[in-house]
Symmetry: C2
Subunit: 508 residues, 2 copies
Amino acid sequence: MPGEDCHFPDWLPARAMGCRALLLLPFLSFGAAMMIQLGPKSFGSEYFPTNPTSDPAVANNYSVLYFQQKVDHFGFYNSRTFKQRYLIADKHWKANGGTILFYTGNEGDIVWFCNNTGFMWDVAKELKAMLVFAEHRYYGESLPFGEESFKDAQHLDFLTSEQALADFAELIKHLKRTVPGAKNQPVIAIGGSYGGMLAAWFRMKYPHLVVGALASSAPIWQFDDLVPCGVFMKIVTEDFRKSSPQCSESIRRSWKAINRHSTTGSDLQWLTKTFHLCSPLNFEDITTLKEWLSETWVNLAMVDYPYEASFLQPLPAWPVTVVCQYLKNPNVSDTVLLQNIFQALNIYYNYSGQAQCLNISQTATSSLGATGWGYQSCTELVMPICSNGVDDMFESYIWDFDKFSNDCFNQWGVKPRLNWIITLYGGKNISSHSNIIFSNGDLDPWSGGGVTKDITDTLVAINIPNGAHHLDLRASTAFDPSTVLLSRSLEVKHMKKWIADFYKNAKP
Amino acid sequence: MPGEDCHFPDWLPARAMGCRALLLLPFLSFGAAMMIQLGPKSFGSEYFPTNPTSDPAVANNYSVLYFQQKVDHFGFYNSRTFKQRYLIADKHWKANGGTILFYTGNEGDIVWFCNNTGFMWDVAKELKAMLVFAEHRYYGESLPFGEESFKDAQHLDFLTSEQALADFAELIKHLKRTVPGAKNQPVIAIGGSYGGMLAAWFRMKYPHLVVGALASSAPIWQFDDLVPCGVFMKIVTEDFRKSSPQCSESIRRSWKAINRHSTTGSDLQWLTKTFHLCSPLNFEDITTLKEWLSETWVNLAMVDYPYEASFLQPLPAWPVTVVCQYLKNPNVSDTVLLQNIFQALNIYYNYSGQAQCLNISQTATSSLGATGWGYQSCTELVMPICSNGVDDMFESYIWDFDKFSNDCFNQWGVKPRLNWIITLYGGKNISSHSNIIFSNGDLDPWSGGGVTKDITDTLVAINIPNGAHHLDLRASTAFDPSTVLLSRSLEVKHMKKWIADFYKNAKP
């Protein structure tokens, strides 16, 4: 539990350690640019709900295995190894005839991904598939240096996407060598979010090991200046505006209302009471309060699913719409506006009706993976995010790489490289690759950094109207809109084409 | 001059340091498997002739530049940088209209490659090309830790093909940013031998940076069990057998003749005298003597060019044929046979007529790059080579990876990984890539590990009958056989197609 243990090197100043902030704002750290001054936050935390299984029926149908990996695939001096955890489900596997669906694990516990990627379970029978879920190094149980993995920059030095892809490559070779009837079978990489980026990059870098990749909600272009840094918050805003323009306008006006109502001690008392906060606010908490609010709106946009679900929090169907019912009128006094904001928050944090008070140090129930992600977003996965308060409903936040870089150095003792990911993976110039599906829901803020237009016949975009963050990878439900049903069926069609081509080319 | 300085870590046992052997058998180290017990040898040395310029007319027409590279592209902890040397020749360069021909430097001084890759100079005008020759890290002047670069396994840890490819990627990005009119121009990777492997791998891993690659005499399949380990020595033998079966048979019989004539002190005196050796032989020199002979035959096969040339040594046209004139009769006494062997050696080592005696610690005049290559062939570039004395004319040598691995560990303190290169670059499963020319001469022993059949329409093999090691990359001469002229013209045709496709795809 790296995030909980909050391991930081001794030489980091206490303020920079930001352990509190780390637990406080887990998600937005994917947009760590905005918030880094308060510490690392976790994109991964979106995956850690109160209820750890969305589909208990499949939760026990896998084996847990471990594979010995080199800590450093790219050098020979460090000969240390560690155990990478992976899961296998082979109920529908057909030896010498089936396909291996390989989940390229991202920043969290692999069991959780396994339980929340129902799509793979749903298509296993049709594809006679063996399901493999590979844990990403430095997450879950796959810690290269055990409890010391996050000790300092030297121990964290092997936490990169390149090393993770190499782990996947070695694991696939191992499976082909050891699983009966797997040797000559095709493998397809599947992943969501950062895991979707890894699936796409894996097909790009190791096309000899996977016949194709399904990259769901993978913002592979949310780097450097490939897309405007404002696009993320603009999409969040648009989700609320679509529900009603009054809703996004209410949120836009709330920031100044908070600023105006946080100048005196009695202001703070009033805010604490109005938001039903568990701990009384101090003046220095106001920034944290606003970030907590921002992240709540972002999270709501990401998990705006068409059915009741328990992803980040237990939520009703279409939670943005529900929330916006309390934000119908921006033309009210500050006090009424902020009371309305509380009503909206109460949906997100207290849908179950069990909460006694709201805690601004939490937006989701677990921060597993937060430390690792904090490091990754401060090294190679630098994703610029900004807001201007005009095209979006947030306070203005300017993307300043130099400041970001210095903050990263203060926090981790290493400096990020802004361009490396593009040099390595090609940025927008990826047309020579093949067999990758990029799926995105238009409600998902990350779709702004994703591939939403076909690049070639075999590098295809699937856009899912009214889809939130990797909705297509979730288990099929009776409430799925036709758009996601169609998308999943298209995805399977592409996979079958890759498999057929594989067999055609394999013939002598 | 790493090879000459012979830097080795203090903890290596004196015997394992093998500095003498390192200077003794530079080339065969590409097949280091055979000879590692005596120390590292250099594939690279083939490139270091007595006369450092084969084409003095072009030798000064370039600028020498340096680019700051990260020592470790794959981690953030080590923030050290070093200066990579590269050369630019832009006489024919057309800004906003030309092509960048990028030589992916291999295991040696880049100036030497520049001067010995006349093909690039010859096509520069036709392609309006800027020529760039990028030095490989740990060779020439591009030493990541200066004089300490070869100090120990920790300093050598950044000497891998992956790091070298990343250097090339960063350098190309730098050129596109800084050279006027280069930003939107196509780049083609070109290399020979290990440089050819790098060119091919570069196109595979960074297809967004180069529109294609010319991989000349690149044995990308000389790994693990992709080709039989005996193929290399078989081709060497075939070259001599083609000249006359008596020739290869004479060499085959010479080993036992040496064995029979190295049992007494007077035997050694006789051998020393017969071979005109500079230093008297001891009993422990006999293995070295035979390796020196083996390497001489291998070198002759590699540089069996159709014209007088000064590559490893000054040599006549078709040197194998010339040498074989002294080896017409295997059915003679041991003493006559060995006297004939000397006559053959005398062509290779004394074509100029200046040599007073022969030195078994040399097969070429420089060992630049030997240390680096010794390390590379003991880590990721493990190329199994064996002989059986039946299908080839050499003494039997069994490929034994375990022994090889232990010897590498004794020498470098690191263990090789046999499968990594195949896991990383795909082995024979590379059909999803595009735009790579694999050219091979059938006289070249390395063609046995090369791609000699088309894989797809855009992964093409060009075979050059009567061609030796990367003959096609050498400057055009009046003595070039039509086969190599045709090959070069085909190569240019492919390049023009890549360039045309690049512009076609670049259009909006």
